[in-house]
Amino acid sequence: MSRVEQDLQPAWLLHRRPFRNTSLIVELFMPALGRVGAVVRGGRKDSSLSPFRPLLVELKASGEMYSLRGCEPRAPAMHLQGKALYCGFYVNELLTRLLHRDDPHPDLWPLYEHTLNALQQGEMLDVVLRQFEIGLLEEMGYGIDLGHDIQGEPVRPDGYYQLNPEQGLLAASQGYPGSDLLAMLNGDWQADTRRTARQLCRALLAPHLGDRPLKSRELFRER
């Protein structure tokens, strides 16, 4: 095996933006390194450096950022269209906003690949996003137990619950229906459950996003 092949590592590009005249700054997501920023000299014309395309990259550490020395496609690009593509942007925006650079998250890698594959299938896109959000929160250490409230009591199907994003679920007289929380846990995604899950995940993510809302949410038009 040549040295170059040894140094090529799998990566997904989350975002690219122009830098100087012909270069790029890219945000990559990698299994061993997490989210990394890299400069690609003269990379503006390289059309393979695109989101949703599995890549192999060779990085060299240079100061705070990496520089990308080589890049080739690992497999054909994902075919995301319309809403699935908006969802892909949403997932990438979440990762860029919530992961710190150079903070490895090896367990997120399979979840990200699974999510893109599921988006490509194109069915129940919102459920795919909820599962990604829940997995991401867990990986960041902010997951909550959907089966129990703060006191450790099992969630009752006929009960209602309020959310404290830092601690978990609180039994209450109104709020998230217990039956929906249990359905989320069991992967039974009926329309009501999906609506509850959307609100719950939004509330869970909110403290980590600060006061700057996610821009990709604007792509989903309310009718």
């Binding site: 975002h15 933006r17 695109s50 949703f52 995301l80 942007f89 821009k215 990709s216 604007e218």
Partner: protein
């Protein structure tokens, strides 16, 4: 200080241009000061006039001096046929083809949420109103083939379908006079998918 303050200021001002670093800026400044005073004055006047006088056309968002750009104002252009492009440079490219007699809508970018560019930044609310207004018969999508271009095209497709306006997209494939050997796989695959009956 290496230069007189005014010279310094001029050099610094030139570095705002794309591709111009401190060295090229210095060359430009010296060229004007050494032997181009008159051109320099003209450049200054032109900059002043353009910065104050150029706005966005209220119909197509392209650069214009008045409320409407010359294309939107021209009675010779078909106002029911609108071509959606990302940049003013794309308009120029279509105009040079000499083939197109409709009007344009210039997005001045493409949807890119991670760069903070959403539908409103591209004036898509303006486009939606025009689509609902009923004067548009056909929308031609000519955004780029990047993921951002695709997302933009799909968003606009959605808007147009809600308004019941027909949408077409410019063909993608092998360039004229191109050698198949040098066409990349993705383009060739697209060209194959979009093949058409060959008739005389």
């Amino acid at each position: 200080m290496k230069h007189a303050p005014l010279v310094d200021q001029l050099i610094h001002a030139f570095t705002c241009l794309p591709g111009v670093g401190p060295r090229s800026a210095q060359r430009m400044a010296y060229a004007l000061l050494d032997r181009g005073r008159e051109q320099g004055r003209r450049l200054g006047d032109a900059l002043h006039a353009a910065m104050d006088g150029v706005q966005h056309c209220q119909r197509c968002r392209n650069y214009a001096e008045a409320e409407l750009c010359p294309i939107c104002e021209s009675p010779k252009r078909d106002a029911s046929l609108i071509c959606i492009v990302s940049t003013p440079a794309d308009v120029l490219a279509f105009e040079q083809s000499g083939e197109y007699l409709g009007q344009y809508f210039v997005l001045m970018g493409e949807l890119s949420p991670l760069d903070g560019i959403g539908p409103r930044e591209l004036g898509l609310d303006v486009l939606e109103q025009r689509l609902q207004g009923g004067e548009i018969r056909e929308l031609i999508l000519a955004t780029g083939t990047t993921v951002e271009g695709e997302a933009t095209a799909h968003y606009i497709l959605d808007l147009a379908q809600d308004a019941g306006v027909q949408v077409t997209r410019i063909a993608q494939g092998v360039p004229m006079g191109g050698d198949l050997e040098f066409v990349d796989g993705a383009t060739l695959a697209q060209a194959l998918r979009a093949r058409r009956p060959f008739e005389s």
